[in-house]
Symmetry: C2
Subunit: 248 residues, 2 copies
């Protein structure tokens, strides 16, 4: 596939990191070779996979201070960790020509070594998010089934449209995923129906139920399949992975 | 009191907007005059209170293009709405001397008209967050009782310490609030105990339970007390308000 995917939504706490980590782990268990890029200065993805050594991180690679050298997490799963210094990137690159292409350039030389590269983004629409949208083939938007979570989607769509027309003509929406979904709640079903109408075939049929194991797993440094293989979280992300693969 | 309070946590989706909106509404019902500042370009706070006209927004006031002119939401409750343009502020102010003091300057002339001014922040630690921490007397940190939510607290504490020593010597932590808390979940109790040890007397005894009414209210443009006065959300935020006032 050699596909690069950004996990993006400027709304906070919608499950970007949890979905990046869980989908990547599921893909690697199915024999796909996956590289993760942690573009969030909070480094939640790196922490969730037990990485505490941020030696060769994505900030140094974007600045050209070091080669990209992924850390092996487990069979078929690699990561380039984050750094707090990413917070400074936006300022440092103010006058850099083509500053939106830094990540695309970086990934070009290693893209063919992986089936999928998945980029976890921070909750913002700044230079870092623009780099992700410029470098990727498609993007996934996780959402909570809440009003505030769907409010910002038109803003994100507007940015994606500009990136597509000016920087990355092949950019497409991979899918929209509802996380922490409970079929019993009227609000959740209402939001699901609204998203179905708005995104047509791009809303995943698979939804992710609320599951405490997903909130516990990051403290162990293990993905959901290693931490709680029989949990609802593992079951739901496996289903998502199968639906995702069926659409490749 | 004439107190300015920032609601801040770079972790996304922890309840910053919900707490700003609900605490402010509770304070206004108790006869306090409250001004809200929506510093998040997503404008979730403005939307939650039914404001759709962003004429006199905080971006224009920070740029000096217009006077600050709050919109009345209801008795004792006013708001200066957000603007998408806030995303550009960081770049536009790159070379502005004392760019962290813009908000402090703006609020100085109106501070005495209100008992409390509460600033809702976006999930980031950039120029906008620095303006909030420079302008406020104290700050409140909402957290989810999850591992990922407490990971970033040391980063936030580090930034607050620098602001205190270089820009705003009076800056203090008002309190830490656990949202979407369920006493039955072991993870939640573990996180609560860890926060109690770490923050000493600054962790609020009051916690906010998960309550679907809080996620529904924003679509109506009403705060929780007008939308669902008998809900757990209204009860919990009323208790928080009383604990908050007892500590003034
Ligand atoms: N299905 C789920 N059930 C229970 N908890 C979940 C679920 N998905 C995510 N969480 C928890 O909810 C919180 C938010 O999820 P996560 O950090 O993945 O969101 P995010 O969009 O990456 O946040 P940010 O905007 O800060 O980057 C985390 O503490 C995570 O552990
Ligand atoms: N106690 C609660 N029970 C149920 N839902 C809640 C509760 N508190 C907040 N929510 C919902 O959870 C989501 C996240 O809350 P909110 O938007 O207030 O967080 P935030 O920290 O302001 O997010 P951001 O980082 O994007 O600014 C919202 O959809 C909100 O409606
Ligand atoms: Mg994240
Ligand atoms: Mg918010």
């Amino acid at each position: 596939a050699n596909k690069i995917i950004s996990m993006i939504n400027q709304k906070g706490g919608v499950g970007k990191t949890t979905t990046t980590c869980s989908l990547a782990a599921a893909l690697s268990l199915k024999g796909k070779k996956v590289l993760l890029i942690d573009l969030d200065p909070q480094a939640n993805l790196s922490q969730s996979l037990g990485i505490s050594d941020f030696e060769n991180n994505i900030y140094q690679a974007l600045k050209g201070e070091s080669e990209i050298s992924p850390i092996k997490v487990m069979n078929n799963l690699y990561i380039v960790p984050s750094s707090m210094d990413l917070n400074a990137l936006e300022h440092e690159m103010t006058n850099e020509p083509g500053r939106e292409y830094l990540l695309k350039e970086l990934l070009a030389s290693i893209k063919d070594n992986y089936d999928f590269i998945i980029i976890d983004c921070s909750p913002s629409i700044g230079l870092i998010a623009l780099n992700a949208l410029s470098a990727c083939d498609t993007f996934i938007i996780p959402v909570l089934p809440h009003h505030l979570s769907i409010q910002g989607l038109s803003g994100l769509a507007g940015v994606a449209k500009k990136v597509k027309s000016r920087i990355n003509p092949k950019l497409k929406l991979e899918g929209v995923l509802i996380t922490q979904f409970s079929y019993r709640k009227v609000l959740h079903r209402d939001v699901q129906n609204a998203l179905k109408k708005h995104f047509n075939g791009r809303l995943y049929d698979s939804t992710i139920r609320e599951n405490i194991s997903l909130a516990e797993a990051p403290s162990t440094g293990m993905d959901i399949f290693r931490y709680a293989p029989n949990s609802n979280g593992a079951e739901d992300y496996l289903k998502l992975c199968e639906e995702f693969l069926s659409k490749q």
